[in-house]
Amino acid sequence: MTSPGLDRELKKGSAELLILSLVEDRPRHGYDIGQLIELRSRGALRFNVASLYPLLYRLEKRGWIRGRWVEKAGQRRRRYYRLTPAGKKVLASQRDGWLEFVKAIGRITGIQYA
């Protein structure tokens, strides 16, 4: 993978998939999403502010997620993102695509998953 453009696209593609998956079952705010990615990847993946939020805004602009300011009793006002119906479709197709991609890589590299 010598092309930096492709590398970035790949990263961006997977990041999109991560975020969409995280807001699938319930709305989450940005800090929550960042924490979850770090937690669930056991520290392997980490998004800093400068990369997480532009990505959220991009997804929102495409209409895949929708952010809304919510004020809960005793808590600070936070912006919660939830999946839109369009996002749901994109998520499904990105999941399929990712699976295909992983399988293809596996077939080529001989890496097997349990």
């Binding site: 800090y31 800093n48 502010v49 400068a50 990369s51 532009p54 991009r58 936070r78 912006r79």
Partner: protein
């Protein structure tokens, strides 16, 4: 807590986001950093360390502002048509396009105003003329199944009457023998004097077959129509027109059964008919009352007495062709049966709608064509404006294309803008149409059927909307298609220099000007021909002096004044009382006046000349007059004398003939003293001696040539009645209307006086239609010329502005101002010349359709064609001269620096 917010805002500052968006992002990110900071603290990290860790997160290689820049747009100058990935949303896009278009239009108020004005003129003219066409041509007649209704005429083309009014005996035979018609009804005009209720009044009316209104499918408002038994002589029943009923009887339903005095006889009112009932009429005849036609036995037997009009309703099966064929068969049979009357007399069957509105059709269609042309020119102008503006907007368009706007969307956006312009133009145009119609209806000749129903109704609104939409698409297409052919790299390479959208744009603009010139030439030539014919008409001599002449209708009741002696006594007394009124020069009594009535005609026998065969027997128009008629009318006496008070029933019966009659019967002799009589030599009417010859007078209009004519004294013919008074005055004739009427009423207070008008007005009425069409076409042609001139001016100004640099270089290199002027004007001449090359042949073809409207001039009149070409050329030169002059004033230094 450290101040993360200012850290973040410092990084957002360079993005140029909208304040609201910047605040929102700052809020969200600050919160995130604060969360992180607290989280670190909760893990036991020191405050300093936590702050440093959090800030480090902000300053990773992909810095926040660079990442955000990819997503967030600066305050969008054009929120539209960026290359979005989502599938296009028709409605949402349209809303966006409309809002954007409104902003663009509001941003250029001068451009918008000029474009809307041009479109409003074009669309308004179309709406106005369509309202007229709609009311007169398109609206169905107010009768049951109006398409089945026809009129039936006798065809006597060999005598000069291609549509002759049928005689009663022929009509009765037709009705008996026909199988294709459900029914046939006849009617004829008759005026009535209403007396006994307030002021005496003369009423237009008709005698009608009892089945006429059932045949038409007219339902009375109250009461009933006639029943067949009432079609008998002696039945005195009458139907009233709704308008008379409301005007004279206050709409009182108890009028049914009331007895009215009409022509001194008692008539019982049996019903009231809606005022929409309008039977075809030669002249401005507005029926107020109807009575049964009730032929007398003598009338019913008459075959040579042509005075009926006949309406018939086709049965559902037969076609018009079948009806015509059958009527021809019947006419041929009658010709064999009654050769002395019916030889060579055929029949004519024509749809009623055509009879009523047909004569207006060519003029209206031509006007409709004319306004369509005007609209086309307006379109070309606006398209040119848009093209010029598109050149200015090149940078905007290039930018949007570069940012990924797709061309289809861009084209759509431009089209939406132009349609919005045309819709605005439509709204303003409706206002123009409304105002125009108010003026127009005042000039519409009163004898045009249904003119009173002209209005802007749903149909007109729909029509206006439709043409506005179509218009917007037509003139928007050129700039829009240009945008979609826009060469992006070229424009960007040119560094935003105003290149006039290249050769393509220039070609488009030039062809629009050529088209404008061509269309205006066609319109102007059409208008020129009409104006020419109108002048021909107006300059024709009617045969009498129409100025300072007052005319009044004085219809005597046949019951009150049953014989010549009593009628003569009445009129002699009226003349005696009117003559001394101040301002009166002379006064005379007459039967029907020229330009109010064609005049009846008869065939005559001349002493010493054998009677011709029946089908070659010419008709001579006759009028009844009293002493002093020729002097009062200003009809020149060529030979002999006119009637005087000495010509009575007891003296020699005289006749005055027209020059044409004299020439026909006595080509090489003096006709004075010769004798003639009505009908055949064998008829038992007395011979009449020619006592004078006068100049011929036109009958009813300027179009028909004067026919053979003769005059009898009403005092010498029992059957002829006088019913008009003419007064030659030394002052404004209408100023004498009241004194003359009072003089008549001083003789008989129950005598109605009607149709008081100056002869000048009456004659003008005869050319009212021609004047109306001419006026409108002239207005539209003028409008077209102005619009075309504006178009030429606009394009030439634009071209000069584009060439400023080139002109500057030329002047700098020593070109003379005159050369520059010549160069610029030459370009204009080229365009106009091409316009003429296309326009003149088109006019040559198109003006033929108006040959029926022309009089005294050919549709290809070379002088008109040449003159109009010159006018267009001069106007075009003027329109291009001002920009050309400006070109010569170009300062080479400024011009070179300009770009």
């Amino acid at each position: 807590m450290p101040d993360f917010r200012s850290e973040i805002r410092a990084r957002l500052a360079s993005l140029g986001l909208s304040p609201a968006r910047e605040l929102e992002i700052a809020d969200e990110l600050t919160q995130h950093l604060e969360d992180e900071y607290e989280h670190a603290l909760s893990r036991g990290v020191s405050e300093d360390e936590a702050e440093r860790a959090v800030l480090a997160d902000l300053n990773v290689p992909d810095s926040l502002d660079r990442e955000l820049k990819r997503v967030e747009r600066p305050v969008p100058p054009n929120p539209v048509a960026m290359g979005t990935q989502r599938r296009s949303n028709m409605i949402g896009d349209l809303g966006q396009d409309v809002r954007y278009g409104l902003r663009m239009l509001a941003k250029n108020p001068a451009f918008t105003a000029i474009a809307v004005l041009a479109l409003a003129l074009g669309i308004g003219a179309n709406s106005a003329i369509f309202s007229v066409v709609n009311a007169i041509l398109l609206r169905p007649l107010p009768y049951k199944n109006p398409k089945q209704l026809v009129m039936v005429w006798e065809n006597a083309t060999h005598l000069g009457f291609p549509k002759d009014t049928p005689s009663p005996a022929n009509f009765l035979d037709w009705r008996q023998q026909t199988t294709v018609f459900e029914g046939m009804a006849a009617f004829t005009e008759r005026s009535f004097n209403l007396t006994g209720v307030g002021e005496p009044e003369r009423l237009d009316g008709r005698r009608v077959s009892s089945n006429l209104f059932d045949l038409l499918g007219v339902r009375p408002i109250i009461g009933r129509t006639f029943v067949p038994q009432e079609d008998q002589p002696g039945t005195k029943v009458v139907l009233l027109n709704e308008s008379l009923w409301k005007r004279r009887f206050g709409g009182d339903p108890s009028v049914i059964g009331r007895v009215l005095t009409l022509n001194n006889e008692a008539y019982t009112v049996v019903g009231v008919l809606p005022h929409s009932v309008r039977l075809p009429a030669f002249v401005n005849w507005r029926d107020q009352v109807w009575v049964p036609i009730a032929f007398s036995a003598e009338e019913a037997a008459g075959r040579g007495n042509h005075f009926l009009e006949v309406i018939a309703r086709l049965k559902p099966g037969p076609t018009l062709q079948q009806a015509r064929a059958e009527m021809e068969t019947i006419a041929a049979r009658l010709a064999l049966q009654y050769p002395e009357y019916n030889t060579r007399r055929g029949s004519v069957v024509s749809p009623l709608h055509e009879e009523i509105v047909g004569n207006m059709k060519p003029a209206l269609l031509i006007l409709l064509g004319a306004v369509a042309f005007v609209l086309l020119i307006a379109c070309a102008n606006v398209a040119n404006l848009l093209l010029a503006r598109a050149a200015v907007r090149q940078k905007e368009i290039a930018l949007r294309l570069a940012l990924g706007a797709d061309r289809a969307r861009l084209t759509k956006q431009l089209l939406v803008e132009s349609v919005m312009l045309s819709l605005l133009g439509g709204v303003v145009g409706l206002g123009f149409a409304y105002a125009g119609l108010r003026v127009l209806t005042r000039f519409i000749p009163p004898d045009i059927a249904h003119a009173d129903t002209i209005a802007i109704d749903g149909k007109v609104l729909a029509f206006t909307l439709l043409i506005a939409l179509v218009t917007g698409l037509i003139f928007g297409l050129a700039p829009a298609s240009q945008a979609s052919h826009f060469n992006l790299s070229e424009t960007l390479k040119e560094g935003g220099r105003d290149s006039g959208a290249g050769a393509r744009g220039k070609r488009l603009r030039s062809s629009l000007v050529i088209a404008e010139v061509a269309v205006s030439v066609v319109l102007l030539i059409g208008a020129g021909l009409l104006i020419n014919s109108f002048m021909h008409l107006s300059n024709l001599d009617p045969g009498f002096r129409a100025d300072h002449l007052l005319a009044l209708s004085v219809n005597l009741s046949e019951v009150k004044y049953p014989d010549t002696a009593r009628r003569t006594a009445f009129f002699d007394e009226v003349v005696r009382r009117v003559q001394p009124l101040p301002g009166v020069q002379s006064v005379a009594v007459a039967g029907n006046l020229p330009f109010t009535y064609n005049g009846d005609s008869m065939s005559i026998a001349v002493e010493g000349i054998p009677d011709p065969p029946p089908d070659q027997w010419p008709d001579v128009i006759y009028r009844a007059i009293g002493p002093g008629y020729f002097r009062t009318m200003g009809i020149p006496l060529v030979r002999g004398r006119e009637f005087n008070d000495g010509d009575t029933l007891d003296t020699t019966r005289g006749v005055v003939i027209g020059e044409k009659t004299a020439k026909h019967y006595w080509p090489n002799e003096d006709p004075i003293g010769k004798r003639l009589k009505p009908g055949a030599t064998t008829s038992n009417t007395p011979w009449r001696t020619v006592i004078g010859v006068v100049k011929d007078v036109r009958q009813n209009d300027f179009i028909a040539e004067p026919k053979m004519q003769m005059y009898f004294s009403y005092k010498q013919v029992e059957q002829l009645v006088a019913n008009a008074l003419i007064v030659r005055t030394s002052v404004d004739p209408l100023g004498l209307a009241m004194p003359v009427r009072n003089a008549i009423w001083s003789v008989d207070k129950d005598q109605p006086v009607a149709n008081i008008d100056s002869m000048e007005n009456i004659v003008a009425g005869a050319v009212a239609r021609q004047r109306f069409s001419m006026l409108l076409l002239a207005i539209f042609a003028g409008l077209a010329l102005v619009l075309a001139a504006v178009g030429i001016y606009g394009v030439m100004s634009y071209t000069v502005a584009q060439q400023t640099r080139e002109i500057g270089i030329r002047i700098a290199l020593g070109a003379k101002r005159g050369d520059v002027l010549k160069m610029t004007v030459k370009q204009a001449i080229k365009l106009v010349g091409l316009g003429l090359v296309i326009g003149l042949p088109s006019a040559f073809i198109l003006t033929r359709v108006m040959s029926t409207l022309l009089f005294g001039i050919s549709a290809t009149d070379p002088i008109t064609f040449l003159g109009i070409s010159l006018v267009v050329l001069v106007v075009a030169l003027l329109a291009s001269y001002i920009p050309a002059l400006r070109a010569t004033k170009v300062d080479p230094m400024i011009a070179l620096r300009a770009q």
